[in-house]
Symmetry: C2
Subunit: 346 residues, 2 copies
Amino acid sequence: MPDHEPGDQPIEGEEAIIRLLAPLTCGAAGAFDLRDDCAVLEPEPGHELVLKTDPIAAGVHFPASAAPADIGFKALAVNVSDLAAKGARPRAYLMALSFPEAPRRHWLIQFRAGLHEAQARFGCHLLGGDTDRRPGPVTISITVVGSVPRGRMVRRGTARVGDGLFVSGTLGDAALGLQLFGDPTRAAALGLSAEMAQHLLARYHRPQPRLALASVLIEHATAAMDLSDGVAKDLGRMCAASGCAAKVRLADLPLSPAAAQAVTVDPGLWAAVVAGGDDYEILASISPDRQARFEAAAHAAGVPVRRIGTLTEGSGVVLEGLDGRPLDLARSGWDHFAAGPLPRRA
Amino acid sequence: MPDHEPGDQPIEGEEAIIRLLAPLTCGAAGAFDLRDDCAVLEPEPGHELVLKTDPIAAGVHFPASAAPADIGFKALAVNVSDLAAKGARPRAYLMALSFPEAPRRHWLIQFRAGLHEAQARFGCHLLGGDTDRRPGPVTISITVVGSVPRGRMVRRGTARVGDGLFVSGTLGDAALGLQLFGDPTRAAALGLSAEMAQHLLARYHRPQPRLALASVLIEHATAAMDLSDGVAKDLGRMCAASGCAAKVRLADLPLSPAAAQAVTVDPGLWAAVVAGGDDYEILASISPDRQARFEAAAHAAGVPVRRIGTLTEGSGVVLEGLDGRPLDLARSGWDHFAAGPLPRRA
């Protein structure tokens, strides 16, 4: 059996790769059809640009066997998720691609399709980039650029004692989805219906940045960040940056029906919920006098939010287990440089 | 003998790496001391932002054994070189670092020192970034942001038939320097003095973007780009983008005394001069009525420039050898995806 479909060929030459990707610029003036060395972008009047870079690599951030359309979608989504949490509107992105060998045409066309779907949904376009060939995993390095009204970017370190802590959507789905992707027999063992399994897989492969919440956060949040490394670790970051402490009960974390089923059968999966990462939901702090309005605005924007705790004096995060005792957080959350073997979340 | 100096330790934890790099923000407001998820930047009034991403990887773009300060310097310089060619002033950069294992403290401190020297010289600062751990070579992915007066970015594809072709500085030094780095006995074989060898090595390890030429290019150039993949290939790109042809004589290419000595002893080294890459000089097209003023302005800016040819009707680039016969350009210039084994220029 051939490794690749008939007619599928490696694409030799940087220029051929660039020409294949050029439609992703959607004709934007500052992208120069990917025919120049740099790109140009200007914020709207009264706005400033918000920038973020978050590369993803095969075998580390996504499975090398993932569908190329999913890889493309996710590469952009994980960057746009940060913009959403900061109250920013996506504008454009730069993308540097690294391949250990010339990519196959079919792979690149599917990858482009996933990116196209993502950028159409998020309202941005390709602005420029680079391709090279190097040993190691396929790597997609996206730098995304958004805009916010001047001075209004929602910060991470400006939460205040007494603020309520809210998260959007549900937690743990993606981390559980990754487990199912690695071992499809797991779905039956956990008593998950086909729909539940599909939900978890989609949450892993196709993160949906909460862009509908961006303007709500600007209006109402004292601080916000996206959840990419697990709520335990990311909440710890917000607390550390804001000089606060927090206590959160597992029982208060929002779970999808699929995740709820999974942790019922295997309570050890709570670790995936709080520390598995890849949620791409929003964590926001809201002052008490704003909470009703925040919840109403989020509801109007079509984004479910749930209060999971309160910021308090002190430092650190306590996660209270279902038995009322604090969980050990020594190794909660994703850290690429934690001591030990090369970590993977793919 | 230990692999590392006494007291040198791996830096465990993304947060420790980020804190070590935070001084590179120089306190810039939009960088938030690397304590937030995104960064903020706004062009000066009447300006727009110019963006470029150009990652470099150990063993591909630089030797893994290069001094970490040189690696840091070069990672930023190769990106800033593009800005210079576009007439842009550097403002800030994002940097994503990938390591296959936790970096050593001494390595990272030296790397930071090289970056600091580069950014101080180029007038920009670190704005944000990311670190991760993955198999494969150490990779530094910089996205640089500059600014130009609105609508004035110097393009690649706007050269016109009849324009004179100019390059800054000298060509081939860096490609020859790489050869010396790989085989130090080569310097004596080529009859190079210690100063000449040092010059070539410095040109490889410490590219000096021609920022002093940026405003001169805006004022006088019909088109410009930086030379990163060798003059043969990059001139071909300018011609293709502009719908022109060009003929250049080897004898007209500007060489340093060191490079002139090297090609005299080994004429095969002309290949390194025209196709070795890593020049980080400027290629510019200047209309006939502007050439005297361009040369005067470049001289006033302290940047040597030399006319190497004229743009003509047609397509393609002819390089005329010292014997008056055209060189074979079939494999001239750097292409990561040219058929064949994994290319290296490190």
